[in-house]
């Protein structure tokens, strides 16, 4: 479990905390191999502001709430982050849409998005389509 200071009062089923806890528990994330960066997440939840730090050193991962220097500061609503960590939002689309902003290194954000999951229902395969079906949709020669 990550070293968190003071503010670990969230419910155990909280998606954001669970996501960061799982990431921290890995200690080393192969998808961050060779990367080094610190990202600060400023997460707005109504009137309160929650801050998470993700520190990556050559693929080794640390999660903390402790104030530190950061290569990138990412700001968003808690609802957005919840949808990112369970795969309902895509990070790049959310960024282009203005659902989050980044100050500092874009590279750090591109690194981070690698560990976000895909949409929960997606299976990666679809039923085959027969040649007859394709021909029925198309013009003859």
């Amino acid at each position: 479990m990550p070293a968190r200071d003071g503010s670990s009062k969230r419910k155990p089923e909280d998606a954001v905390t669970e996501f960061f806890d799982l990431l921290a528990a890995k200690h080393h994330e192969p998808l961050f191999e060779g990367d080094t960066a610190t990202i600060r997440f400023d997460v707005k939840d109504g009137r309160s502001l929650e801050t998470w730090y993700l520190t990556v050193k050559n693929g080794d991962v640390g999660i903390s709430h402790k104030r530190a220097g950061a290569d990138a500061v990412v700001r968003m609503e808690r609802g957005t982050l919840e949808m990112l960590v369970d795969g309902r939002h895509n990070a790049m689309a959310a960024l282009l849409r203005g659902l989050m902003t980044i100050e500092g290194s874009m590279g750090a954000m591109v690194m981070f998005q690698r560990v976000l999951p895909g949409p929960p229902e997606d299976k990666g395969r679809v039923p085959p389509i027969t040649g007859a079906t394709v021909m029925a949709q198309r013009r003859p020669t």
Binding site: N90, G98, L99, M106, P119, P128, I129, T141
Partner: protein, 686 residues
């Protein structure tokens, strides 16, 4: 693109205007200021005392700079204009326009100068498909700037317009009330900046993309340096110089910096509509340009590596290890109305990524980068085995999971009718096209070499070599059309051969997957009258049901395709055939003034005497730009072996003497010389 339009660009920002410098776009009209796949100005019209201007001349000073000489319309040629107007425009993260008004009279003159300014903030996809906007527009004044704004929920895009001289802003744009002294001049500097705002982030100034402006501009200024650093070509055949210089200059214009690798450049796919990263196009172009500007390959590997797929995402056709197809930044991508954030729907870029990595190391000896990218290479190989084998038969197949906005054909021949049986029927999905198996084979052979020599993982190398050998054996059995003596273009969903004769067989030679005893028949087909037009190899052979000389992938000739086919022929020792293809494509390049189109008609050379251009939106197109470069490599027979560059020329006689001096690589710099000794005339006169 129509001839009366002027385009200048920098990175992914470009301006398309008329000869006067004016922009009057409709939703479907492709003029405007575009940046990040969004139109930031759709109207920019200059008037002096209410009158439009006429263009005397338009000079493209650089690919990022144009100067317009204008005069007011006097209505008749008998009245001399007493004013001249000079507009000079530079593209950066928007554009900078210097506007000068010269008074040629002996007395001062009072004038009202107006520029109408407006933006529809259309997504490039909307300009192509004429779609309606969903957000709201407004304009306001902030700190002496006019700000045009488009807002849809949290999505905000703004155009900031400012002037160095006092200006009045109104609902229509900018107005200047000025007095120009006798024989004097008035001047203002206008800045138009594209801003990627978000709610509350842009109260005081435009939100640009930090650092981009400066870096890109320095790259552009370095055009002379870029040309100087490339190898020097001398050739008896005069057009060679012109073609070579055109290719290098166009390649410079096609350089594109990503948001994460701001001080490096990779080749974008085409100007102006494809100024973005395309996995396939960036890789092929980097391969073609390797002997000349190897740094493009390094950036391509880094940029595609950092966005390699990591999850299953059906909308984006993303899988772990897959290399992206196309990345876009516009509104439709932002709202997931298009999947380009990025879209992964291609089946070739992933194996080709490994091919490029190995070829790059063989040329440059940059083991540091190849060590750094070992995880990406392994993930790519893993994609081939774990995710691309959709039929569990040991072959790469493709079938889109995004049936609405995904790509049906995920190979380079991506139009709907490109893959057909001899009788013209279209196969179902998944489809396993043949060249994909070649790329997979080559990727494994090359990854094995890297595993042995750079990553020092012997057992991985042995495993890959075993898998490659097995793939080659199966492929030569399953894809070989015995009675026609060529390889089927694909296997269909039942494992049946899709039996048309296509240019894809040339790529198979390039990949080395063809058994030696079958290569001769393949080479014979490629230069036979059925396939070779005299200018180049057709995408689909004459005699196939869907053959059409002006069919995009069903008969047209693609210079890029031909450059890899020629490389493949050389790989199997067919010097004469490779020289014939090079001679045909280079002759076409001469007629296109050095700038080969994406594709041209497959008509017989003897029938048209001039290659008939296939109408496409982009010029130059990156992999067409790279084709003459790769052909030069092929006919000089340049091949890195160990620490040395081997030169083994196989030049058409017409070329005469060739010297390519200062070829960069792991040997530092080396010169190559050759003399044309191959008579290719029997191939060129079909």
């Amino acid at each position: 693109m129509s001839d009366d339009l002027v385009q200048i660009l920098e990175g992914n920002t470009f301006v398309v205007s008329d000869k006067r410098g004016d922009i009057e776009a409709s939703l479907t009209d492709p003029t405007g200021l575009f940046s990040f796949d969004t139109r930031f100005l759709s109207r920019w019209v200059l008037t002096v005392d209410g009158q439009r201007l006429n263009a005397l001349s338009t000079d493209d000073l650089q690919y990022f700079q144009t100067r317009f000489f204008l005069v007011p319309d006097t209505g008749t040629v008998y009245v001399n204009a007493t004013l001249s107007v000079i507009r000079q425009r530079d593209v950066s993260d928007g554009f900078h326009e210097e506007l000068r008004i010269l008074n040629h009279q002996n007395q001062p003159v009072d004038l009202v100068v107006k520029i109408e300014a407006a933006s529809d903030f259309a997504d490039l996809f909307e300009v192509k498909d004429a779609l309606e906007k969903k957000g709201k527009y407004r304009s306001r004044k902030v700190n002496g700037s006019l700000v045009l704004e488009y807002r849809r929920e949290t999505y905000v895009r703004e155009t900031w317009i400012s002037s160095s001289e006092p200006v009045q802003f109104d609902a229509k744009g900018l107005a200047f009330k000025i007095t120009v002294p006798a024989h004097g001049e008035w001047k203002t500097e206008l800045d138009v900046v594209a801003s990627l705002g978000s709610e509350g982030s842009s109260r005081t100034g435009p939100v640009g993309v930090r650092g981009q402006h400066r870096v890109r501009r320095d790259m552009a200024r370095g055009l002379d340096k870029w040309l100087e650093r490339a190898p020097h070509l001398e050739c008896d055949w005069e057009p060679a110089q012109m073609i070579y210089r055109r290719c290098l200059t166009d390649l410079a214009a096609l350089r594109f910096s990503t948001l994460t690798l701001t001080n490096r450049a990779l080749p974008a796919a085409g100007l102006p509509w494809f100024m973005t990263i395309f996995g396939r196009d960036s890789i092929f172009t980097s391969l073609q340009a390797l002997p000349f500007v190897p740094e493009l390959a390094a950036t391509t590997l880094l940029a595609l590596g950092e966005r390699q797929g990591t999850r299953i995402d059906d909308f984006r056709d993303e899988d772990p290890g897959r290399i992206l197809h196309e990345l876009r930044y516009g509104e439709m991508t932002a709202f997931e109305e298009r999947p380009h954030s990025p879209y992964y729907g291609n089946a070739d870029a992933t194996p080709l990524y490994v091919v490029l990595m190995d070829e790059y190391e063989r040329w440059t000896g940059d083991t540091k980068l190849v060590k750094q990218l070992e995880p990406e290479a392994r993930a790519a190989i893993n994609w081939i085995d774990q995710y691309a084998d959709l039929q569990d038969n040991g072959y790469i197949s493709y079938q889109r999971r995004n049936e609405e906005t995904g790509l049906e054909n995920q190979c380079w021949k991506d139009s709907w009718d490109s893959i057909s049986y001899h009788n013209g029927d279209l196969p179902g999905f998944p489809r396993a096209t043949c060249e994909l198996q070649g790329y997979a084979y080559d990727a494994k052979v090359r990854a094995a070499r890297l595993a042995r020599q750079v990553w020092r993982d012997l057992s991985y190398a042995e495993q890959l070599e075993k898998e490659a050998a097995d793939l080659k054996r199966r492929f030569n059995r399953d894809f070989w059309v015995a009675d026609g003596e060529y390889f089927a273009v694909a296997l269909d969903m039942d494992g049946r051969q899709v039996d048309s004769l296509t240019s894809n067989i040339g790529h198979l030679l390039w990949s080395g997957i063809v058994d030696n005893n079958k290569a001769k028949a393949v080479a014979r087909h490629l230069v036979s009258p059925k396939m070779f037009s005299g200018w180049g190899v057709r995408t689909l052979a004459e005699g196939e049901a869907r053959y059409n000389p002006i069919g995009y992938h069903t008969g047209a000739v693609w210079p890029f395709d031909n450059s890899f086919i020629a490389w493949g022929l050389r790989r199997y020792g067919f010097k004469e055939e490779a020289a014939a293809i090079a001679a045909g494509i280079l002759a076409a390049a001469e007629l296109f003034n050095g700038r080969l189109p994406e594709a041209f008609g497959g008509y017989r050379r003897s029938a048209t005497r001039f290659p008939v251009e296939y109408p496409t939106a982009c010029s130059p197109q990156a992999w067409s730009t790279g084709a003459p470069l790769l052909l030069l490599r092929v006919i000089l027979g340049l091949e890195p072996i160990g620490e040395n560059l081997v030169v083994d020329p196989g030049l058409p006689t017409r070329i005469g003497h060739v010297s390519l001096l200062d070829i960069p690589g792991r040997w530092k710099r080396i010169d190559a010389f050759g003399r044309g000794r191959i008579d290719v005339s029997k191939f060129l006169d079909y």
